[in-house]
């Protein structure tokens, strides 16, 4: 369910952010964000709303764990 993709925040105007992926831009609502999102952050976008901030550090760390198959890290 729930098609949602990561998009990068390019600018923020109140409850609305301009987000971008591969040159495609659109406006999404930030009403549901628990954490502060800033320009340059990636957010997960679902049905026109940002629902989660993607943690880039965490992503890189996860990837390292995946690559080394250190599954006990979870």
């Amino acid at each position: 369910m729930c098609l949602a993709i990561p998009m990068e925040i390019k600018s923020i105007d109140g409850p609305v952010a301009n987000v971008e992926i591969s040159g495609v831009t659109k406006q999404v609502r930030l009403d549901l964000m628990s954490e502060e999102a800033s320009v340059g952050d990636y957010v997960i976008v679902h049905a026109g709303f940002a629902i989660s901030r993607l943690d880039r550090e965490q992503a890189l760390e996860t990837l390292e764990i995946f690559k080394e198959l250190r599954l006990d890290a979870f």
């Binding site: 729930c2 098609l3 992926i21 591969s22 040159g23 495609v24």
Partner: protein, 335 residues
Amino acid sequence: MTIERVLLDYGSGGQASHRLVNELFLKHLGNAVLSVLDDAARLDIAGPLAMSTDSFVVDPIFFPGGDIGALAVHGTVNDVAMLGARPRYLTCGFILEEGLPIEDLEKIVASMGAAAAEAGVLIVAGDTKVVPRGMADKIFINTTGIGEIFASPAPSGHRAAPGDAVLISGTLGDHGLAILSTRQGLSFDAPVASDCASLNHLIVKVIEAAGDVHVLRDPTRGGLATTLNEIAGQSGVGVFIEESLIPVKPAVAAGCSFLGLDPLYLANEGKFICILPEANAQAALAVMRADPLGADAVRIGVVRAEHPGKVVMTTPLGGQRLMGMLEGEQLPRIC
């Protein structure tokens, strides 16, 4: 011209109709055959011939990379060309909605004239009807095209054979995504223009360079996936393609990813699939890549005897799955 909007009178056959023909249509589309203005066009053409017809109802009528007029010429020129033919003549029928701004009509007709000149075809017959407001959406255009088949044997959807290579002339889904990006309610901006273009000159070069081309098809509505399925069915063969080789612009892929669409089912208006013996594939690719309309041409797969009637996709992970036909149009989805 002093008039600003299309009135019902313009389709009446009276003075107003004549003014529209003389001052607008002939201005942009006129040529030695059309300008005679008899009941029919007199042509001097010998067979075998390829003939095709198509109606254009695209909404919006102006879109990034083109308009309904250019599309109406390119679309039919391409259909005729896919039979290994040189398109020569087009007819065009217009259904206009009362109230259409004349300025828009003129832009569209001028664009048809330019597209026809570029493709080297003459528009030799035409008709215009005006319907009351609300009975049509701004403008509908039908074009019929005819051309001389020069390829022997001519390409056909029935001729794909095991061992053939499958080539595509460029990136997929550009037209479909460009149209979607204009749709109200989807609200996104994509740096993608329609690829609409006449392919006939390039087709001549490909056939001259590669010799026997088994199949030529332009993957319009339903996209690459649908057209390959049609070919697999007509020829009774399996078409095996590699996902990682299929060219899709990053912006098209991105636009599709949040709308939940598959670019391989989106329409193209300036691309063709070329299926031919493997030995001739490199020659065809070289000619395609040397032309701006085929700059991104690549070999995406092969034809085999296994899985007749099906299109089998090998994914970047090395897995295999079917690439089937869709039941209807793709709709943006959230799940």
